[in-house]
């Protein structure tokens, strides 16, 4: 909740590639977070829910399968850098896609409840954009 929610997926975030749709996302948290903080990426493209097992993510020039992110505690997603989510769907430059994303960032220093579980900060996006 806040002004950064609208910047998670930007007007120029979609790119068509030979192996699918790239979506550049930007963090709605104010500081860099370690990659395991990308705890929840609930993504629906054109009404089709995308299983996270099918996703890979490029951060700092390295491409990881989504499940690998949980082990990359020594790498950080910087405040102003995109993380590119690779979605294996058919697309082409100029094609429009409806992108619905619930991004849940695990905030590793804000521990909640008696079990001291990290806060998950959600940000919801629903935009229809054209792929470059």
């Amino acid at each position: 909740m806040g002004p950064l929610d609208d910047q998670v997926v930007r007007a120029d975030s979609l790119t068509a590639t030979p192996d699918g749709l790239d979506i550049a996302i930007y963090t709605h948290w104010y500081r860099a977070l370690p990659l395991p903080s990308l705890a929840r990426v609930d993504l629906t493209v054109d009404g089709e829910r995308i299983d996270t097992a099918a996703l890979s993510v490029t951060v700092n020039g390295h491409r990881y399968a989504f499940a690998e992110l949980a082990e990359k505690g020594d790498e950080y997603w910087f405040t102003t850098d995109p993380a590119v989510v690779h979605v294996p769907i058919e697309t082409a430059p100029g094609r429009q896609h409806r992108v619905q994303l619930l991004l849940g960032l695990s905030i590793p220093y804000i521990l909640t409840g008696p079990d001291r579980v990290p806060l998950v900060a959600p940000s919801a996006t629903d935009k229809t954009l054209t792929a470059a």
């Binding site: 909740m1 806040g2 002004p3 950064l4 929610d5 910047q7 930007y26 104010y30 500081r31 860099a32 977070l33 370690p34 395991p36 705890a39 949980a70 082990e71 505690g73 950080y76 910087f78 405040t79 102003t80 850098d81 695990s106 905030i107 590793p108 220093y109 804000i110 521990l111 001291r116 579980v117 990290p118 959600p122």
Partner: protein, 342 residues
Amino acid sequence: MTDTAPGLPRLGTTLFSLSLEQRKPGRDFANLVAEVAARDLGPGLEMVAFQSLRGWPRPSDEQISGVRRVIGESGLTPSCLAINNDLGLYPGRLLSDDESYEYVAVQVRGAAALGFPVTRVGVETSPAILERLLPLAEELGVTIGVEIHAPLTIEAPPVAALKELFTRLDTPWLGFIPDMSSSMRAVPDAVDDAHRAAGIAPELTAMTKELWAEPGPTMAKFPELERRAAEAGATPAQVGNLKMLFTMHGKMAPEQWADFFPHVVHVHGKFYGIVDGPDGLTDPSIDWPVVARVLREQNYTGFISSEYEAHAYSDRYNAFDQIRAQHDMLKRLLEAEPAVVR
């Protein structure tokens, strides 16, 4: 840099205030620092390491010299480097004490390399870890301060444990960093913008603000808030946003900051908006006249870092202008004749 009169708290800015500015095209660390200086919003400069420095907690030597050069050329004085103890780094477990120590220690070394005299950690850094960090802090000449932020107050058990630790160790290298979010007199109006954008009915926001303002401990009001919000048809996500108002805005009496002395090592001048009142600039949600009086009475001469946080709720105000207004207000309050002690 314009300073307050000798013997008074000094003013400054944390780059956290400029979280939205940082995202604008053409912005970088160097030009944000330069603009803080050009607008005379020092002399103190604070930043959140993980927010401002790509590659933290392992900056290169070249990056360290670059940061030092930018700050040096600006004429600002490094006041505090905010660091983090990411205990929940990995899913399903918390860092062990050894891991936590190492995670913080490397950042304290980084703060020293960058030339910051004080570094900030959160209350998740336990007294045992702080005690273990003390020799390092002493060796490096970097004071480690634990931020006291809403919902913490003087009554919170972790705060009592810290006070006991600081009293027992009697050291200048560990202490408190009061954040005014713990001692607010009203929920800021800026939340209205965020709630409107999140589809929360204005009546729900108003109800939450009224409940917040009623007497009694905030923590005890959560069930009542949930009941009233559910009755009014709020979704679970909206109830979460309403509860966040209780968590982010504490109601401790500002006079109680006196009880944190003599262990205060830095102050966060948290605020959500300064407005023109009948008697000049005023803050509707934080009682700065009382805070300024407490800091003066305690002979505090460290920095108050202006920490504008309404950017989390609204982008309609200019953060630089807001900090200017807060500095003008604080300078007047701090330099006024000492108030009569009540």
